[in-house]
Symmetry: C2
Subunit: 439 residues, 2 copies
Amino acid sequence: MGKTIGIGLLGLGTVGAGVLKIIETSEGRNPLVSNLEVMRVAVRDISKKRSINISPEKLTTEPKEVIDDPEVQIVVEVMGGIEPARSLILRAINSGKSVVTANKAVIARHGDEIAKAANSAGVYVLIEAAVGGGIPIIEPLKQSLGGNRIKKVSGIINGTTNYILTRIAKEGANYKNVLKDAQDLGYAEADPAADVEGLDAADKIAILSGLAFGGVIKREEITTKGINKLEEIDVKYANRLGYGVKLLAIAERVEQLKERNQSLPLALWVEPTLISNDHPLAGVNGVNNAILVEGEPIGEVMFYGPGAGSGPTASAVVADILNIAGIKINNKGEATSLDPLLSAASWRECHLVNQKDIIQKTYLRVITNDSPGVIGAIGSIFGKNHVSIESIVQFDASEKGAEIVIITHKVKRGQIEKSLNQIKGLSDVLQIASQLGCL
Amino acid sequence: MGKTIGIGLLGLGTVGAGVLKIIETSEGRNPLVSNLEVMRVAVRDISKKRSINISPEKLTTEPKEVIDDPEVQIVVEVMGGIEPARSLILRAINSGKSVVTANKAVIARHGDEIAKAANSAGVYVLIEAAVGGGIPIIEPLKQSLGGNRIKKVSGIINGTTNYILTRIAKEGANYKNVLKDAQDLGYAEADPAADVEGLDAADKIAILSGLAFGGVIKREEITTKGINKLEEIDVKYANRLGYGVKLLAIAERVEQLKERNQSLPLALWVEPTLISNDHPLAGVNGVNNAILVEGEPIGEVMFYGPGAGSGPTASAVVADILNIAGIKINNKGEATSLDPLLSAASWRECHLVNQKDIIQKTYLRVITNDSPGVIGAIGSIFGKNHVSIESIVQFDASEKGAEIVIITHKVKRGQIEKSLNQIKGLSDVLQIASQLGCL
């Protein structure tokens, strides 16, 4: 097939080693893989024992040496974290080298800066591995769904929390015990905050919605609630009502625009959410991820697969390397203009609406005295605030009190908040115990 | 964004009208859509009343005029059928114009001829709409999974039969009545053979496996069995055993190669297949399609969505148009070398194994006398032929006889056939009533 394409790796952890392994065993893969050669690898500790074969003279502890190596044409950043990853990506871009990265944290926060630098340098920064592990989702959003007006992107995009929730659902296991298991198995970090508080999912939905809606998303404005405060009793009640509970990330356009060139209002949030058992996302278990995209005229499509792990994530990184190799470098080495689909520059203004304006079904659990009038009183308050109710069920009435579970129809969060403030004032109401989303 | 890209449509039926509608309403879609302009459209009847606005002078009954029009840069073939579609596609290629087609019948039979012509002319022939309606599957196979060694591609890829099977499963409806409904709703053709006999699914699995495994597939060698002979009693028994029945198309590599450059042995077949209720494909209902791809190192990914219809199919056609517009024509109008991923030339030899060497789980229904020794006799014959049994259940014993349902473990079809020939010879066996696949 012709000439070698030089790859430089920044990082040789789980994903980096997976990428190296694919490139070193090219037989039976797309023939373009055999053109790839890893020229230089930045690691933290050169003398560390590794399961993968790499000649020691390719290793360096200085990432800049990898970027500046004239034999390196594509820089693969798989070290993670914000800095020095961001600076190194920008250095590669400014050296005229395309970049492949699996770093959702950097892209969610500095994606706009990086994309602008890449476009003005005429290079690509591809990020398939940043969301959904091995699942092809970034490229379909950029290249296969461009004819559509996207209405909604939603999904299960954090494997760690989905593993925990699956075990709680299937075994009635305790959150803290399962988290400990997940840490022992390497699915969760020693500090699990990014996963269980929903921050990782928020990073990823920021990236997906930026591509789906064509605008820059302010990561820090995303309303985020993790599973760390989820109580098992709510999972149990949800099950009794025919629902499972998943950590969902959701992005949707809020209304039709009245004028062209107006900024597009989007609602973005991450939240433990009830999903009815016949919904396509209900069967997504363990560390699997799934992303639903709804558009006009396509309707609804879903992408499903392993959301993490060395092999799947390396598969996504190599996909990006091949794309750059195929269209950019293979092209006689001459500079050509960027494919606007693949470079995916933002093309309109978007903004996030206030969280009070997020419209959704809501699950509520209220603890009350076991008094005959309390359901009526709660129902009246919702009625006055124009919150229509899908179901209201009283569980476990006892001397201690009763638990009342309410599922609303789709209304604004602001209306729910206002209602809850009034409900709290009822003498028979002891506590608003839980509030979750519901699909 | 710059200059107009001229589109010529061959056909203005459901899909053609959908494509025109997307292009005419570009606001809110990828900005590249606004660069597209439909210049000329070939139709059968110019005077026909249409729901879509198109100026009459763009219409012609002569497809060649569309192809030869100097303002047409990309030819979109959405007329269907083998001829004249094949000749028109080749004419466009030979005029140096890239082609987008939704025509699975032509690609499954003449894909190799067309791909060779396109590569030597330096143009693209893209086929996203040929399989899976709106679901992005062709492009992910070509561009996003190239780092993998694909092991298996399987799925539900015929919406008509899935609609029929879903209604039979949910309502216990009768095959002939549901087929009539499907025809009335426009889901099935007046002559339903291509759908219900599995021929359409065979076309599509030929295309998918050609891309997944990198070789030319001989369409006529695919073992094909439709749902037209499926009996409702087998759906009923399958349900009792915890399975649903779907028409599956399956392609898998049969063994590891001993030498490089050896022809890759593949098993390809289409067959009504039992799927256990917790399998990801089990929840795919109605006219939806889903394709599972299994590879190393990615594991298993699934693509799910609407398998047919004007909007979804038009979405896929426009995706292909945008891809060509993005990398080929947008590139300063200069000829550049083809992206090897997107052009997807075949890169190795593949061949289909004899159907006797297909390895699968099998569901069998045998009608026998209600005699105490018959299960033992059947079991012994399977044992002698090294067919191991997962379950053997006797249903509906009565004076008329008994129905024995057997599900085997994975064995070669040849072993099943040999066993059945011997079982037929047992004096208590009245009939081998059904043989289906099982996942």
